[in-house]
Symmetry: C2
Subunit: 357 residues, 2 copies
């Protein structure tokens, strides 16, 4: 190369090692901290990042489609740190004994371009989704909310229940799933949690007396999990399961009665419940509530809706939380991912010297 | 979730393990195969993929810019396999003893969305860049070419020299770099290669009698590494170092005399030598030559130019080559990257059970 700079000192070889957090170590980390404390920590990080929303370089997900599914990259940067998540969506995987969604993520330093952290993100995404839901409800639900209906009792259900107890003071969860085995699973898993758990026979029973209604089903179509007559005055709806084109959970009439809050409007218009509405239907981006630019709930009898699809800034926040916690816990393993010759121009010499050893 | 499918059998847990190739193991793999055999193998893979160019879902690089550098994701898919490369560009890193460019990549199965291979890609990128250059020259240079001028003797230089010997029959390399230490490094590293190596005092001396001129300098500006009077009739120019906006190596007059071949025109118009030309200047995408849709060299006295910036399909080919070779060599390590509960809906239960062990 035509660089005329003095030859640099040997590069610090530890810079070539990226911290890796395996699934096993992520479970150790979260269990060591406690699920609710982890959700609280991630929610604080998300709140801080949403409050400085405009500092982020936000781009849409980058998707590659196959007939049977999609693989997406979700990058975002605040100019200092860079994060991306790899996530797939293959509904037919369940029939083959595979996960429909797997995810991993990376955090990097924008000043050098060097990766800092590579980590599993299936568990981390479950935590950040629950943290985001409960953070939104803490500003949008009635402050005296105690009862939540939880419609859809799959992989996200327990995380939602614990997040709402910790961040919103929920003490009772009314459970419903079209598969009673899923409800039984949540009852078992949360038996020792102190939450009052009420299995319900249908949606109408589950929403009776609920202050908050959370929908997190996996139906891959325009379903009506929640009908208009299920939703009374003053309720907060946390709609988590509608998250791609053609996949919604709420009757359209609910949307026109509700004050609608979203993460990043350009993405939610495509993927969220509001894909059922005209493109100019008014919505509020939740970061505006956190930064004082827009009101949250205005009246006790207002119906508020958080139409959540998941956004890259939440993953950025979760990755920064994980990076801080793994440094403190020693649960990261060094991964030899980056070639780092002592003399940057002598990549071939590094290869030759490796052959000689 | 509201899935009504029968509960699947326990997922095969090995599907949750991603094959990882460290820098150390990539060096073992390449040294075991031999650098020239590796380049030949990768070139064959690139040739096969370029010949079916239209099957690929091609999108531009996804870049995040900071004042000091850039981080890019380069995804591509053929509908069966999916690949992406993470690569940064931070010119000021060299002064801090860090690489200006580090890279890693991932190969995944589009049928399941599951990653197959995670690997270092700094070494792999050097191999695929040299393979691409020599593959292009094998169709564009005069068949009796024996002498190559190599302007810029940095990290890419040895790989280029060996690729052109193996794929094009080059036996003599005339070396020049503005830093004589860089040339001395190449002379040392290739001393036992059998190539005739001739260090030169300037560009004019280096290009004297050369059939092929390769430029791979790192100047981050619109430089004129090669002037019009350096380029005689019948020469093939392999321009590797111009690869981002504002970074070029060739005098504009050379471009107007040459038949220009590129990888992916929309990207090269922005990043390559042809950023100096009007947007409608005729160029040929090299895949068209490989698939018989366009001629390569037409006359002995024609000046041909391969204006190379690097494209995602080359990384896709290199990753597929690496995936095949590491499976044969046993040099991959299993990485516990993907959460894989026995019951896909019971992520929380998996976490609880881990706490109990």
């Amino acid at each position: 190369m035509t660089e005329t700079k003095p030859r640099p000192a040997a590069a610090p070889s530890e810079r070539a090692l990226v911290s890796f957090v395996s699934v096993e170590n992520m479970m150790r980390l979260v269990n060591g901290i406690g699920v609710e404390a982890a959700i609280t920590g991630i929610a604080a990080e998300i709140e801080a990042d949403f409050a400085r929303w405009e500092e982020f370089d936000k781009i849409p997900r980058v998707a590659s489609h196959a007939p049977v599914g999609v693989i997406e990259l979700m990058p975002v940067s605040d100019g200092r740190r860079y994060a991306f998540k790899y996530v797939n969506g293959h509904p037919k995987n369940l029939r083959e004994g595979l996960q429909t969604v797997v995810a991993f993520g990376l955090l990097a330093d924008m000043a050098t371009g060097y990766p800092l952290l590579l980590t599993e993100m299936t568990i981390l995404t479950a935590l950040r989704t629950a943290a985001t839901s409960a953070l939104a409800a803490s500003r949008l639900a009635r402050p005296d909310s105690r009862v939540m209906a939880l419609i859809g009792n799959g992989a996200q259900a327990e995380f939602q229940a614990l997040a709402f107890r910790t961040l919103c003071g929920i003490d009772t969860v009314r459970l419903y799933d079209i598969d009673p085995e899923a409800t039984a699973k949540v009852m078992r898993n949360l038996a020792g949690s102190g939450l009052k758990l009420i299995p319900c026979a249908d949606v109408a029973e589950a929403v009776a007396g609920a202050d908050i209604i959370t929908t997190c089903t996996a139906d891959k179509r325009n379903a009506t999990v929640l009908s208009d007559n299920h939703v009374g005055a003053g309720v907060h709806i946390n709609a988590v399961g509608g998250d791609c084109p053609g996949k919604t959970e709420l009757a359209r009439d609910i949307l026109t009665r509700a004050s609608i809050f979203v993460e990043f409007a350009p993405q939610t218009r495509i993927e969220g419940e509001i894909q059922q509405l005209p493109a100019d239907h008014p919505v509020t981006e939740f970061w505006q509530v956190l930064s004082g630019k827009a009101p949250g709930r205005r009246r006790r009898d207002e119906i508020t809706l958080f139409d959540s699809v998941g956004f890259a800034v939440e993953d950025f926040a979760a990755l920064n939380w994980a990076w801080r916690e793994v440094q403190a816990s020693g649960l990261a393993q060094p991964l030899d991912l980056l070639a780092d010759p002592d003399e940057p121009r002598d990549l071939y010499g590094m290869l030759m010297r490796a052959a000689a050893t």
